[in-house]
């Protein structure tokens, strides 16, 4: 609702995010009490605790937060762009492109930065491919974009299967972990966090125009919105967000679909509120999911994508079932 103050839900979500991060850095192979954690954050505590929290756990927690926030905001933007509450960056084949990029790099024996860079390139290639093909010779409609994305995503799926079937068995586990989403290889959270913050700041002045765009492109044009440039920038922004998230954590499903959908049920559909709320709620969700992934079968770790899908699938089916 544009009328009520947007600050209260955002403050609550911010608090939830902070608490989730606190839990996440406290739990692990060596449990650290909340008091000690707070002491470390304020600059004291033992040296071991400092290393454990500031150098090992905090970067991973921040990476999880950034990934979740990026994916949720990207999902919310795609949903407005396609005027379809069920859209999601993954539906449009962006993660498929990123996965093919990453797997090809792994197949070639690369690791670390090369895999991330290749994933990023793959996601951007997928973006251009879908956008170019959907544009075609005719007009560019949401349903055409969605259909193009779904078909291209199916194509990426086939290529992924092909790569997996050609890969020597010794390299398969790393690839599978990447495909399922895994935060243990996230190098640094900062690029993701900075991009998330920048996009949230950029999106605020665009928020009302996005609200109008959700009513259809003709209606938006009649109300003075420059529809085509706006649609382009949403698509590019969502692609950049997705590519950054996928590069950090591999392919983590369902955050982009479920988080915006749940928030809309509670908060309405004012993008000026929904988009920052998505950043906070998506981040919080992934921090919690990653904490679970680390502790459920400790000392082994689960890929975080498994947890989000296990939470996401029933939640989403329930919402869909209830909404008619």
């Amino acid at each position: 609702m544009p009328i009520s103050s947007p600050y209260k839900p955002l403050l609550i979500l911010l608090l939830a995010g902070f608490l989730a991060a606190l839990i996440s850095v406290s739990i692990g192979s060596t449990a650290i009490g909340f008091e000690d954690t707070l002491r470390v954050i304020t600059g004291s505590g033992t040296e071991l605790q400092q290393t454990l929290i500031l150098e090992l756990r905090l970067p991973r927690t921040l990476s999880a937060f950034a990934t979740g926030g990026l994916l949720a905001v990207a999902g919310a933007l795609m949903q407005v762009l396609l005027r379809n509450p069920l859209a999601d960056p993954y539906v449009l084949g962006l993660s498929g492109g990123a996965a093919v990029g990453a797997l090809l790099a792994m197949l070639a024996g690369a690791a670390g930065f090369l895999v991330s860079g290749s994933a990023f390139a793959g996601a951007m290639l997928a973006t251009l491919l879908v956008f170019g093909l959907a544009h075609g010779s005719g007009s560019w409609t949401p349903s055409r974009l969605l259909l193009t994305g779904v078909v291209v995503a199916a194509g990426w799926g086939a290529i992924i299967t092909l790569i997996l079937s050609m890969t020597p068995a010794s390299r398969l586990p790393g690839m599978l972990y990447w495909l399922m989403g895994d935060l243990s290889h996230a190098a640094t959270p900062w690029p993701g966090l900075i991009i998330l913050l920048l996009v949230c700041l950029m999106v605020f002045p665009l928020g009302r125009a996005l609200n109008v765009l959700a009513r259809g492109s003709l209606q938006a044009a009649a109300l003075g919105v420059s529809v085509r440039p706006l649609e382009w920038s949403i698509y590019l922004m969502a692609s950049l967000l997705t590519a950054t998230a996928v590069t950090m954590a591999g392919s983590v499903g369902f955050v982009g679909l479920v988080v915006p959908h749940m928030l809309r049920l509670v908060l309405g559909n004012d993008q000026r509120l929904i988009l920052p709320a998505c950043a906070l709620a998506g981040g919080t969700l992934l921090v919690l999911a990653d904490t679970l992934a680390r502790v459920v079968i400790a000392p082994e770790q689960l890929p975080v994508g498994v947890i989000t899908a296990l939470i996401g699938v029933p939640t989403f089916l329930y919402l869909l079932y209830r909404s008619r």
Binding site: M1, N84, P85, R208, V212, A222, L223, S226, R264, G268
Partner: protein, 254 residues
């Protein structure tokens, strides 16, 4: 006060060769009715006038300035359009729907103020849907949605009102109420330009009529001169009986 004029305007209907160019002058205070059979281009004409579609040739002038030279936002402050069909992909209440009409009047950083809210509520009240303001639009009936759409245009409060079949889905009482409201707007020096299918509503409420024929012919002028039985019979390919009631012509299929 804003006037919209067209110079040798030919709208772009695929596959239509010979067309009479339109030289219309839509003046403040006028209520225009566009009549013609299905598929003749009434909606295309409205979209073209609103600048949402390129004409095949000719130009549109808003107060003498070509429409293309005016910022989209400025255009939407002066001219608004009620569409025939609407997208309700996301749930929104009637009040939120009406409030988007304020978009052209607010800067990107501005939130809707109490005043904007009051404007939207007044519009919902004028259209007799204020009691539905917190209901989700996709749960309303067709006629109620139509009135919310007109309230959105009223919230936008442009000087030129373009409406695509504004009486669609409306019951008799609300058809009359909407037509009265449009006449009131015209009396406040606004221009109203709408597509209609009901000859009798056009005869009763419009002072200017544009007839669009399927072969591309068109004629326009004061309602009295245009609403002639023989012209309307050839327009719709339908025999008509006419009579005069209360000083206005009435047409029924014969």
């Amino acid at each position: 006060m804003t006037r919209l004029t067209t110079e040798a305007l030919i709208i772009d209907i695929p596959g239509r060769a010979s067309v009479v160019p339109l030289n219309l002058a839509i003046e403040p205070g006028q209520v225009w009715g566009v009549l013609g059979p299905n598929g003749v281009g009434k909606t295309t004409l409205l979209h073209t006038l609103a600048g949402l579609r390129e004409p095949r040739s000719g130009q549109l002038l808003l107060d003498g300035t070509p429409l293309g030279n005016i910022r989209r936002k400025t255009v939407s402050q002066r001219m608004g359009l009620v569409f025939q069909d609407r997208q309700d992909g996301f749930p929104a209440t009637a009040l939120e729907t009406a409030l988007i009409g304020r978009h052209p009047w607010l800067s990107p950083w501005q939130m809707e103020s109490g005043e904007d809210l009051a404007i939207a509520e007044r519009a919902l009240e004028a259209l007799d849907v204020i009691h539905l303001k917190d209901r989700l639009v996709n749960t309303l009936s067709g006629g109620e949605r139509q009135r919310v759409a007109i309230a959105t245009l009223m919230t936008q409060s442009p000087e030129i009102w373009l409406l695509d079949e504004p009486t669609n889905h409306l019951d008799l009482q609300h058809q009359t109420a909407v037509m009265k409201l449009l006449r009131q707007q015209a009396a406040c020096d606004r221009a109203v330009f709408m597509c209609l299918h009901d000859l009798n509503l056009a005869a009763r409420w419009c002072d200017q009529i544009l007839l669009l024929y399927p072969d591309g012919q068109a004629c326009w002028g004061p309602a009295r001169d245009m609403l002639v039985t023989s012209a309307l019979e050839s327009l719709f390919g339908q025999r008509l009986l006419s009579a005069e009631l209360d000083g206005f012509p009435v047409f029924v299929p014969g």
